[in-house]
């Protein structure tokens, strides 16, 4: 019983790792651009596909894909931001939500035409095959790697934003972009960079997910809605909120599934409704952050 409960908690941490990385990207993008990026799940899917196609046609191994795929997807994100999104910044946020939803439908259908609905398997890299003995239980090595890699990326991103001068510039631009620009900082370039970085984070999560799930055109759809719930629970635009809430929600949902399986699919939304009732700005959010 205890070992299966431990296993379930670790499964929750794996789901949480994906929620955390995806909601982190969403939070960074929302914080600076005030865009609810519906296409974030598509970037996650593209990340997995770049790794898959790279492996099939170029023999790209997992470790190279972990670096190359976020770069490729960041470039896709930057092109989308410069070509389409930047034209709508002065309009209501709903327009960009609709645009990113349209981008999602377009890219997903294009991928479906090319690769079909059926997912394709992506092999676990050799060094991460098998299981590891954690002392209190045995758990697949690759899944432990996912948790650790996600934690490293999340903490590094948090440090970048909270503890560096680039991060201070980002936070200032979130608060008053006009004044930051009047100090001589190229805020539009910063916005483009941040959008690209957010997309790269999603792609990184996509590559990590490739050996866990099948690589499929609609894989982003399955995760983006719960990820939005995580962002709302953590607090719109809150970096720390996204990371902590991502892991906590992953574990809570896994435990829900363990003790009462019928509730597992809806638990995250019950949690979101409860948090919104008690603290409408989210657990880590502020009124300024959600404005």
């Amino acid at each position: 019983m205890l070992e299966s409960l431990g296993g379930q908690i670790f499964n929750g941490l794996v789901s949480g790792a994906f929620y955390a990385m995806l909601s982190l990207g969403l939070a960074i993008i929302f914080g600076l651009l005030r865009i609810v990026n519906f296409a974030h799940g598509t970037m996650y899917m593209l990340g997995a596909f770049v790794a898959y196609v790279g492996a099939q046609s170029l023999g790209l191994n997992f470790w190279v894909a972990l670096i190359a795929s976020p770069i490729v997807v960041a470039i896709v994100g930057i092109i989308l931001e410069r070509l389409l999104l930047c034209r709508l910044y002065k309009l209501d946020v709903l327009y960009n939500l609709l645009l990113t939803f349209g981008i999602t439908l377009f890219i997903e259908d294009a991928m479906r035409l090319k690769f079909g609905m059926q997912g394709s398997p992506y092999v676990i890299p050799g060094k991460l095959e098998g299981v590891v003995n954690l002392g209190f239980m045995i758990y697949p090595t690759y899944r432990v790697f996912v948790i650790v890699a996600s934690l490293i990326v999340c903490i590094a991103t948090w440090l970048l934003i909270e503890k560096t001068s680039l991060g201070a510039t980002l936070r200032a631009a979130t608060e008053n972009p006009g004044l930051v620009r009047a100090f001589g900082i190229n805020v539009p370039a910063l916005i483009t960079g941040v959008f690209g970085f957010g997309c790269a984070l999603a792609a990184f999560a996509g590559v990590l997910a490739a050996p866990v799930n099948n690589v499929a055109p609609l894989m982003g759809d399955d995760i983006i809605i719960p990820t939005f719930a995580v962002v709302v629970i953590g607090g719109m635009g809150s970096i720390l909120g996204s990371i902590v809430t991502g892991f906590v929600v992953g574990v809570v949902v896994a435990l829900g599934a363990f003790f009462y399986p019928p509730i597992s699919g809806t638990l995250i939304y019950i949690l979101m409704a409860f948090v919104l009732l008690v603290k409408p700005t989210g657990l880590f959010g502020s009124v300024e952050g959600s404005r």
């Binding site: 201070a168 100090f183 190229n186």
Partner: protein, 234 residues
């Protein structure tokens, strides 16, 4: 006579359908401190924002050392050596005192060193890890000015730096502006406090309804103080 650093001609600006500036003409010479005085809402802040490229759709001409800058984006204008100390100070609530101080990039050589800033305002060093907006109003104003001086800007646009501050702080800001002047920094100041303005400025432009209507010397401001105060409604 020093050469003209900033030249503004027939400046017109709008907020949506409503026109705010109706042809502003002004010159600021190298090393001068010049004040824009006028009632609230006559377009003083709009003039500063227009110079800084912060308002879209501005017409007329603005030249810095003879080079047209109207139409450039505001980060490019800043890189030409213009710094801004905005209305209500513009201290960022998500940044510490040190982060606020270090935020503007160095845009030209000759900016004030951190040592010099901390010597003048030890509080900015003592409370470097506090959130910027936790400082008192006067300390925030010092921070807002100090961060621009660190950037090396040679022309500083200051919007009501003494607003809402105690007399002792106003005197400290007066000394600071005089220090800047001694360093050869040119200042275009928006100010309602005429006593402060006459102590730091070389001359004054009186603005009415989005236009400059008169240029005044310090002596004229002192001589006509009662009339001007009644006009300003302060």
């Amino acid at each position: 006579m020093p050469e003209t650093l900033l030249s503004v001609r027939n400046l017109q600006a709008w907020y949506d359908e409503s026109q705010a500036l109706f042809g502003v003409d002004l010159d600021v010479r190298e090393g001068e401190v010049v004040t824009l005085v006028g009632r609230n809402g006559v377009g003083k802040t709009t003039t500063l924002k227009s110079i800084m490229g912060m308002i879209p759709g501005v017409k007329g001409s603005i030249a810095l050392r003879g080079t047209p800058i109207l139409g450039l984006s505001s980060h490019r204008i800043a890189r030409l050596g213009i710094g801004v100390v905005p209305e209500e100070r513009g201290i960022f609530s998500g940044l510490t005192v040190r982060e606020n101080l270090m935020l503007p990039p160095v845009i030209a050589e000759g900016g004030w060193s951190l040592e010099r800033i901390h010597q003048l305002f030890p509080i900015l060093d003592e409370r470097r890890n506090s959130i910027g907006t936790k400082l008192s109003g006067g300390e925030q104003q010092m921070l807002a000015i100090a961060r621009i001086l660190r950037s090396g800007a040679r022309l500083v646009l200051m919007d009501e730096p003494t607003e809402g501050l105690a007399p002792v702080i106003v005197n400290a800001i007066r000394d600071l502006v005089l220090d800047m002047k001694r360093d050869g920094i040119t200042v275009l100041l928006v100010e309602q406090n005429l006593r402060f303005a006459t102590k730091v400025s070389d001359r004054h432009y009186l603005m009415v309804h989005g236009k400059i209507v008169e240029t005044l010397s310090n002596e004229e401001v002192v001589h006509r103080e009662g009339e001007l105060l009644a006009h300003l409604g302060v």
